[in-house]
Symmetry: C2
Subunit: 336 residues, 2 copies
Amino acid sequence: MIKVNRQILLAKRPESVPDESTFKMVEAQIPVPDENQVLVRTHYLSVDPYMRGRMKNIKSYAKPFQIGEPLTGDSIGEVILSKNPDFSVGEMVIGTFDWADYSLRDGSELRKINLDEAPITTHLHVTGMTGLTAYFGLLDIGKPRPGETVVVSGAAGAVGMVVGQIAKIKGCRVVGIAGSDEKLKYLKEELGFDDVLNYKKVHDIYQELERICPKGIDVYYDNVGGEITDATISLLNFYGRVPLCGQISMLNSENIENGPRLFTHIIRRSILLKGFIYSDYKDRFEEGRKALAQWIKEGKIKYKENIVEGLENAPDAFLGLFRGDNLGKQLVKIGE
Amino acid sequence: MIKVNRQILLAKRPESVPDESTFKMVEAQIPVPDENQVLVRTHYLSVDPYMRGRMKNIKSYAKPFQIGEPLTGDSIGEVILSKNPDFSVGEMVIGTFDWADYSLRDGSELRKINLDEAPITTHLHVTGMTGLTAYFGLLDIGKPRPGETVVVSGAAGAVGMVVGQIAKIKGCRVVGIAGSDEKLKYLKEELGFDDVLNYKKVHDIYQELERICPKGIDVYYDNVGGEITDATISLLNFYGRVPLCGQISMLNSENIENGPRLFTHIIRRSILLKGFIYSDYKDRFEEGRKALAQWIKEGKIKYKENIVEGLENAPDAFLGLFRGDNLGKQLVKIGE
């Protein structure tokens, strides 16, 4: 057990792509729990693209990070001190902790992890936020039916990989879009995607998508936005469904970019688009976690983790998301 | 009974705004019914903005008009000759007839009008296509709840006026957007809209909408697209709903215009957008017609008709839609 609490703060709001100057590591005292509070030692931090959005000073589902305060994110940790009768020392918990060695949280902000349900780190992806994001977006909004064509962008990301595998479980033809041949090879050979498209290597995304989706597209699970999304929406069939999950192509932009107005096509084809965040489904998390854990057990959902060691490497792991470094879920291991 | 069948043909596909050269009137022989067919004398033609879309050679829910063939549209007529046992001479029927004095149709393309249900011409608007478009788009997609703010664009059009009145019936605060003070006065004073906005007279639609919708916007019923829609979507509350009904601002454009990319906001607020056409709800038409007819009887839905006399004036009535001439439903009276 270390004696200080290292914390990573937001040093300044990035103007476009974040870099090292976005972050600052400081050493603070280890806090002491008050009534109902719990001190947690961080074991794993999850590193997620949506955090870029919270670096902007914009009202959204999650409130903006404040300059000079610790970043926070989905994390797993161990209870070290507890003044909450519901939590005992040594228990493993999940919550939104500081990017730090230790976090002080109210008991109501924690959930105990069922270690039998699924491998512990999967609570930060397949059976956690990204998996639930895939599960509810695809099944509740996308409503895929057997034989339909499902296209997923950001397919090699933590959400995209689960989306594609659930769509396969549901009997769909699945096409994944990503930006590296290595990632796409993994999707096709290991995860069973039917076809893949490297958007960086094609001259015309629309034409290439049209070629590999000869029956059109029924569900487009959107993680990226921008030109990939323009092309995909333009190829949607009648009654197509679009779970709008993320717009990573917009995350580093402060201004609203322009793109083609697609509503005429959306009307002509009676298309549904729905923005969402996984917490819209908080009443159904239990259902989602159980289904996802079961699919992991049955080998129907595979996953890949990219684990970096050391809190001090968390900023670079985050920056790697935007360099397109990672295949699979980016985690940072901190505690023992 | 006249001796020739005057027909209005599509003379050429308009490049932008249609004009007189888009149409051509010819005289043809009055056709004779074959087995199962019915000859109908047109009494009323409905003139609708969506017909502009059919003048383009683009695959959509309705197939494009062909050059040199009669335009068609929602119409009411009287059975003149019948070789279909289900239809008798003298009965009033509704269907998609030619812009002509007479049309020959298969019995399966006709529906008898219940003259007791509602005033006959309302079958071409409040209890017909435009009313059903308002009814299902607002209630099935918009799902307005009492106390919510509903904004409707194209509010003085045949669809928009019904949308606003149904939203009032459902206990909402209703704001209508249109382009003439005369129209807006009617919406506010006669139809009970809570507030109105003349988009042609405001400097900044967003700011003005923000001012008159202090609680934000919960449902945006979109008939117009373009900048009005950009502003309205940007003001939608969490879980806002957008029935996408029409994009009249795009109708005269052959190219896809650019506009701001709004998906980031749509995701942040968990917003739903759904394109639709009234025929998506054909299994529920009876329900919609009954509700609308009842509201007319109860005086809860009022309407205004703009009736032009003579088939020869139908083209100009259509062009008037794009000049913004009409307050309420544009009809052409042809038969006796």
